[in-house]
């Protein structure tokens, strides 16, 4: 059940420069775990030591911020679209 994940520029060094990858899982957490298996190193950029989403990382499920859904436990189904977006734009 591949889920489409859009990857921001600063994380594309883990995806060989690709801006959209696929990963499997029935929740955001599972999808991120699978993402780490496919693209090692990406996890610690997204989650802190206790496994929570780092403060400056926003994850959108079909355009909805998962902090307003069920956080990392938010359910994901076939055809869903996930975007990872850093909370800032950089540059002044």
């Amino acid at each position: 059940m591949p889920i489409k994940v859009r990857v921001p520029t600063p994380l594309r060094r883990f995806t060989a420069g690709v801006d959209e990858v696929v990963a499997d899982g029935d929740s955001i957490k599972r999808v991120l775990e699978d993402l780490e298996r496919r693209h090692p190193g990406i996890r610690e950029r997204l989650l802190d030591d206790s496994g929570e989403l780092r403060r400056f990382v926003n994850v959108y499920l079909n355009g909805e911020d998962i902090r307003f859904l069920n956080q990392l436990e938010s359910k994901v189904k076939d055809g869903d679209d996930i975007s990872i977006v850093p909370a800032i734009a950089g540059g002044r």
């Binding site: 921001p8 780092r54 403060r55 975007s83 850093p86 800032i88 734009a89 950089g90 002044r92």
Partner: protein, 348 residues
């Protein structure tokens, strides 16, 4: 016994004499600069050797609310003087916020239309302020960050080159020049020439390049240190991770004495601490600057470390900066309670 160093005495005497308010102005543009320098004392208590002090230039006191008022004014002044900006032209640039606010403010005060390209994920307050000054925001893909905004801005200009004046803060020498002419001299005067270290975040690098250059011209021994995010994936709005970004044309790494990486989490917690200990609500780039300034200061036996707090924190209240604040506060209070040896019940 702790002794007050020569440099500290000189500094205290001069620091009180220098800030003179502008008595009257005919345009907000005249009110740019001449910001106060605040010594950070409570947060640093017990952390520094007696001859070491930290000062922050409070750029939030500029009329547009940030350090960016300085380069915005200078770039537009020089554009007008060279005839590159003239009636009928639109001021267009890419910016994640503070430069946009500054350009919008200066444009409004001079009667020029302003259009700004920014990644769609910049904070809501910034978008509103820009619109309040009558400028038109144009949004680029949030996944592409500020580099995406730079590229979209280039495309707009290629499509209609005669229509726009692009201040181009990343490549315009007027940007560091503004700091060479104002920020640097102000710091020199406000510290009575006692500044030993200048620490500033890099976004375009205008502040660290321009003010650093001035301070070194007065005293080649002044160390100029840049602060940058520790990773390309970060949450420090306004700062750039140089190695993974489009390098600004005005950036000269060889002029820096050092570069200090700061983690987003450390910078955010420093913002919280500045609120609680100093009564100062600042943005995340100021938190990062303070983390680096403190790191430098703690390594010194004697010196005056000056850093720049680019803006105040009100326009970040809706951002991720404040996610996790409640947890921090609880943990922090627990630490304080242990330190002061009072019972938890006495504080509730």
């Amino acid at each position: 016994m702790a002794t007050i160093s020569q440099s500290s005495r000189r500094l205290r005497a001069d620091a009180n004499a220098e800030i003179v308010p502008t008595p009257r102005a005919q345009s907000v543009i005249e009110l740019i600069g001449n910001t106060p320098l605040l010594e950070i004392t409570r947060l640093t208590e017990g952390l520094l050797r007696p001859g070491v002090r930290i000062f922050a230039k409070l750029e939030g006191f500029n009329p547009g609310g940030s350090v960016k008022d300085r380069p915005a004014r200078k770039m537009i002044e020089i554009g007008l003087a060279r005839g590159e900006l003239r009636p009928g032209k639109v001021i267009l640039d890419s910016t994640s916020g503070n430069t946009g606010i500054a350009l919008a403010m200066v444009g409004a005060a001079l009667g020029y239309p302003v259009e700004l390209v920014m990644a769609a994920n910049v904070s809501r307050e910034r978008k509103k302020v820009i619109e309040a000054f009558g400028a038109k925001p144009i949004y680029s893909d949030p996944l592409e960050g500020s580099d995406g905004a730079i590229r979209l801005c280039r495309k707009l200009i290629e499509a209609d080159p005669g229509r726009y004046f692009k201040p181009d803060q990343y490549n315009n020498e007027a940007n560091p020049l503004a700091h060479f002419e104002t920020t640097g001299p102000e710091i020199w005067r406000q510290t009575g020439g006692a500044v030993t270290h200048f620490v500033a975040g890099i976004g375009t690098s205008g502040t660290v390049m321009g003010a650093g250059r001035f301070l070194k011209s007065r005293n080649p021994g002044v160390k100029v240190i840049a602060v940058e995010p520790d990773d390309p994936m970060h949450g420090l709005e306004g700062l750039k991770h140089m190695a993974s970004s489009i390098v600004p044309g005005i950036y000269r790494e060889a002029e820096l004495d050092d570069k200090i990486p700061v983690s987003t989490e450390d910078a955010y917690e420093m913002v919280y601490a500045l609120g609680q200990f100093e009564g100062l609500l600042v943005g995340q780039s100021s938190g990062a600057a303070m983390v680096a300034a403190l790191k430098i200061a703690r390594s010194l036996r004697e010196g005056a470390v000056v850093t720049v707090f680019c803006d105040f924190g009100d326009k970040y209240l809706s951002t991720n900066l404040w996610i996790g604040w409640q947890e921090w506060r609880r943990e922090h209070l627990q630490r304080l309670i242990r330190k002061w040896n009072v019972s938890a019940s006495a504080t509730t």
